[in-house]
Symmetry: C2
Subunit: 342 residues, 2 copies
DNA sequence: GGTTAGCACTCTAACCTTGAGAGTGCTAAA
DNA sequence: TTTAGCACTCTCAAGGTTAGAGTGCTAACC
């Protein structure tokens, strides 16, 4: 549905005013604020039409108009143009991310923090999906007389550790045996194929050595599992409380959904590759029917990987949020790519 | 201030009814619910007296009474008796904690989770203070051609890792040199003395070897720092939203305080050793003036260590919360002690 | 002296009414 | 096609009313 130029202009002005003020926008206040060169009556006619077509609604007869989900959608798709973050802003973002650039997880946590800080909304970031990555190396560190830590390093740079316990006293020699046997067995194996049957087959393969191994094998399975699973960093959840135009019970629903890492990860996994905006009921989850999720994926070595997203009310400065997300995404992608190459 | 037996009985009945219902308790409804063998007029006289003495207040003239901070205090100190968690409950708690019993941190996270789940309030748990503990061992794991992970194990069983980067290509031989040199230097050193000057002295001591070491030394300093610092596990923060008798802005203040890990850790550090209840303004933090913090410390090898705490409204079932906290505390202490011995 | 029945009193919460203000849609004229 | 004008609608805030809950006080009772 194409809108005439003036209708677009009026829709745009209403949305931008509403985003700024949070108040329903009336015909009179609109012309005084946005410098449209027509009378309020003309604006009223246009508004009535935009309302009929579903771009605006009136909370009640004597109130101004506010944008509908469809109104925001049209604005985002056809009117809004995103200006990238300024050079100075970009440098600031990069410097903040750089402070904790040791591991993908810490970069993503910083990313989530800074997105939340800059947008003032809740923010989440997922680690790259490890479904296709493989075991690169397994190492062991003795941590006690009966305990040791397995360190699993994957081909996509994720490092997971797991402490395990043995019935017998651990010696450097035993760890060496573990190291050799397990790297022989696991190196190059896809994380997704390390499941219970695989572990059992491996144990059988080790013969009598396997008697020593239940703890080790479970530790490796656990660490591989966690390396494969997408984990979710988040920041600024308390900011959800201050989404004024959302009811208390809706905020409660959102908070509970976000705290359920499993469901959240699944929803984030299904988001598209490009920057996208899911407004209200466009979201796949009913809990988010009164929220907007703006998301993008960062790329590692040009392959789209994890998600960065902002969760906020429908009424948000989409331009600003998208530009921040894209800037952080670019920096995160570059940093993680660099981290893995080395 | 000692209260006569009947006054105690009435105060107790009012508090217990109020905790259950959340409604101000009137003289008439009190006798019908709590089986006191006197008339409502007598109860009214006693209530008037308890109000004069500061144990109760009336929200307004025509409402019933609700307990004041002082009322709760008297109830907790002189009336309430805590019945320990049932055997079955205890077994349940232990089994949940056992699922993730690899490290102190994971035990404490599970502890926080289960406390929040059982009490339906927000819960926090701190790791043991590492101020007095020492470096037990440092190990290295190669993670990339230019990166490696330092693993710092402390005398109190905390294990921290930190990835660092070197300008040169890392080989097993180099890591061996690091291992030897650094264990010689750091083993037995108190975490609290590993600061910037110490690192510089150590670097000077290494002579030309130190040129290779800036990344390593910083990694060890960082890991030691984190092993020393108390870290805070938390759970159920969203439950703060549903504390009905607290205003929205107060909930906001609490949420923001809890999200500030540094201030929160400092407050928790200053809590007493025994189980304690800080009601409303008894809390050291102004943000918690409308909340109650119930806390206890778990003991590692009979030494009081970190804190387990519940943060909720004044109106909570203190009996139940205290018994749950003490039960979890006992289990956590035993598990961490066991973990370290091994 | 402690306890109780009775009663006047107070206060809130819920409801209604009212008026001001904001914004609209429609109509007729430009 | 645009605009001025106007009657209309609806919300919000303020003020008023009523029912109900709970109180404190007094006088009688044990």
């Amino acid at each position: 549905m194409e809108l005439a130029a003036r209708k677009q202009k009026i829709l745009s002005a209403i949305i931008e005013t509403y985003i700024k003020t949070g108040e329903p926008v009336g015909s009179k206040s609109l012309i005084s604020e946005s410098g449209l060169d027509v009378s309020s009556a003309t604006v009223r006619n246009e508004m009535a039409d935009l309302t009929n077509r579903g771009f605006l609604i009136q909370p009640h007869t004597s109130a101004g108009r506010i944008p509908t989900q469809q109104g925001y959608r049209y604005y985002i798709d056809n009117i809004m143009s995103v200006t990238p973050v300024s050079q100075r802003g970009k440098e600031y973002i990069r410097s903040v991310l750089y402070e904790n650039a040791d591991s993908p997880e810490s970069i993503l946590q910083s990313a989530s923090d800074i997105i939340s800080q800059l947008t003032n909304f809740a923010s989440v970031a997922t680690t790259p999906n490890g479904e296709d990555s493989r075991i690169h190396k397994i190492s062991f560190v003795q941590t006690g007389s009966h305990t040791a830590m397995a360190v699993v390093i994957t081909s996509n740079g994720i490092i997971k550790t797991k402490i395990f316990r043995c019935e017998f006293i651990i010696t450097p020699e035993i760890l060496e045996v573990f190291d050799k046997a397990l790297n022989d067995t696991f190196a190059g194996i896809k994380l997704s194929s390390i499941n219970q049957p695989f572990i059992q087959t491996a144990a059988a393969h080790f013969g009598e050595l396997s008697l020593f191994m239940p703890g080790v094998l479970m530790a490796i399975k656990d660490a591989s599992q966690r390396a494969k699973d997408v984990s979710v960093c988040h920041s600024g959840y308390t900011k959800l409380l201050f989404m004024a135009d959302v009811s208390f019970s809706a905020a409660r629903g959102v908070a509970e959904f976000l705290n359920n890492e499993h469901d959240l990860a699944r929803m984030l996994e299904n988001l598209p590759i490009d920057t996208s905006v899911a407004i209200g009921r466009e979201n796949s989850r009913i809990e988010l029917a009164a929220s907007t999720v703006v998301s993008t994926r960062y790329s590692i070595d040009s392959n789209p990987s994890g998600v960065l997203a902002v969760i906020g009310p429908l009424r948000m400065n989409y331009c600003r949020v998208i530009s921040i997300l894209e800037c952080v995404s670019e920096c995160v992608g570059a940093m993680i790519s660099e981290l893995i190459e080395i």
